[in-house]
Each structure stands twice: as C-alpha cells, then as structure tokens.
Amino acid sequence: MSKIPLEKKVLNENDRIAAQLRARFAEHGILCLNFVSSPGAGKTTLLERTLEGFPPTERVAVLAGDIQTDNDARRLARFGFPVKQITTGGACHLDARMVERALAEWRLDELDLLFIENVGNLVCPAGYDLGEAAKVVILSVTEGDDKPLKYPAIFFRAELLVVSKTDLLPHVPFNVASARESALRVHPGMEILELSSLTAVGLEGWRRWLEERRRAVRAATPAPANPGRTESG
C-alpha cells in the first residue's frame, strides 16, 4: 500500500477554465462582475437599475443564471443590451464551463462590461471561480444582519457588499451597523455600500464604484491594435 501526495485543487478543472476566461476578459478590457446573493435579495432589480442608467451605446452584457425559467433574462433584455439566460437545470451554482459555453456566441471585442448574475444561493457559488474580476455579494435588509458570520465563505471572497432594500429599514429589525461589523470581521477591509433599487437612494455610490473599477480595467488594458495593421500573436 502506498500513499501518494497530490497537492492539487479539487476544482482544478473549473479553475483552469476560469483562468482562461479571466485572461480573455483582460485581453479585451472587459470588467466582469459576479453577483451572488440569497434568492430574492435584489440581484436582478439592481441590474435593471444599472442597465437603465446606461446610454444605448454602452458595451455591456448580462449572463443570468437560474435553476429554471428565463424570467430574469426577459426582465433584463428590455433595456436593449445583450442578455443570455443560463439555466442550470437543478445545479445550485454557475461554474466556469457554463460561462464559457454561454459566451461562445458573443464577440468579446464588442464588450467592456459583463455582469454575471449567479443562481440565488449564498453557499455554493462561493467556491466556483467564473473568471470574474470581483464577486459582489448582496444582502437585503429583510435578511438577518448576522449573515456574514453564518455564510463566511462568500463574504470572505466578495470584494463588495451591497446592503439592498434600505427603503425597508424602518419596518424591519435589520441593524446596518451590525451587518457592517459582521462583514468586516469575516473580511477586514471589505467595501460596503447601502442602497435601495426601489427609491434609487444610494445608487450613485454603486455607479461610482462601478466606474472606478471600469477605469482601473481601462488603465490596465493595452490600446487596441491599429485595425489597418496585422499583428502577430
């Protein structure tokens, strides 16, 4: 009998595809964000408000993950930007291969911004890298403010916490200060925004955050090659 050390990632194959996606996004100067939350925390509504604020020339697209139905994709397609639904047929999260397949029909050189709306679930999506620049976790005020401590994996991995539905704060026991404190215990230095997609209070902060991230991607992307010249590599 022999014991053979392996020292490999269990999700090696997912991570390999995610790394390829990340390299392609970087090459095309695309900012890719992966939205994760419990079902009903307001991922689709925040995306609706975000798309609504863009001019028709904006080079943005959305991949929406759900177990069944294309309801979210239909809601998001109203704004005229490319939207594709990924139905996982039962799986509780998106993986990198689903994203790779969904992107196959799109030209990445026509995009600057890609939102991935993950399946509503605070647990499973945490472990699957989709090649995104950042995960954004959304926590609505109708949930418990201790969720960061109960589901630390996603709060540890997400760069931004969006506290959503703040218009309901007068009616619910949610304590924003304790939610912030819990999130920062799990993930010191985590960025936190509060907003209401319904009343638009706080949306400016979200747009500013998004613009800053997009600026950073633009600064890191080499200028596109002169179309008159052919380049190798």
């Binding site: 014991k3 392996l6 490999k8 990632k9 269990v10 509780c92 472990g127 540890f156």
Partner: protein, 115 residues
Amino acid sequence: MHELSIANSILEAARAEALRRPGARLLKVGVRVGELSGVQPDALSFSFEALVRGSDLEPLALEIEACPRRQRCPECGREFEVHDFDITCPGCGEERTRCISGDELDLAYIEIEES
C-alpha cells in the same frame, strides 16, 4: 448542496490519478477542506459515500482534514489560528493581519494498493 458536485470532482480527480498507475487499486482519498471554503465536511462525506456505493470504486474511503482559518501578523510575523472570527494578533495586538489559509479545497493525497 454543491457537495455532491464537489464529491464528484474529487472522485474524477482520484480516478485520473489512479489511471496513471496501471493495476493500482484506489483505497482512500485525502482532502483538505478549509472553514472558509463553503464546503460542509459532513455533507461532503455523505455525498461521497452515496457516489461510491455500488460503483466500481467501492469501498473507497474519504478522509477529510478540516482546516481552520489562519492569519499572519505583518508586524511581529506570528502565525495563528482564528477563533470566533477574531483576527487580532495574539502576540502584539495588531488588528490588520492577513489570511494565509482556511479557504482551501485541496486533494491532498491518494492511497493505492499496487498489484
């Protein structure tokens, strides 16, 4: 309940490793599961057993090493285990310490019997 797909990934990886050693029989797979990995060790064991039962890999065993979160202090260099999310350095009191492990989901080893 993504532990089922995680268990499946573990089995596929173990099978691939075993195939590289013709004639070898897989006895055990060892994995390391960090507390920040989002994977529940009990659910993972349950899923793994369900997948192995009745398959050609039976009676393959799974050993899970649960890994706590560990931080390193940038001031005094101390490395320590985190309890109850308290990441303050127990040596010098520095609050801004850096996470060095606890989010792993690694295939650590396989045990095989060579014929």
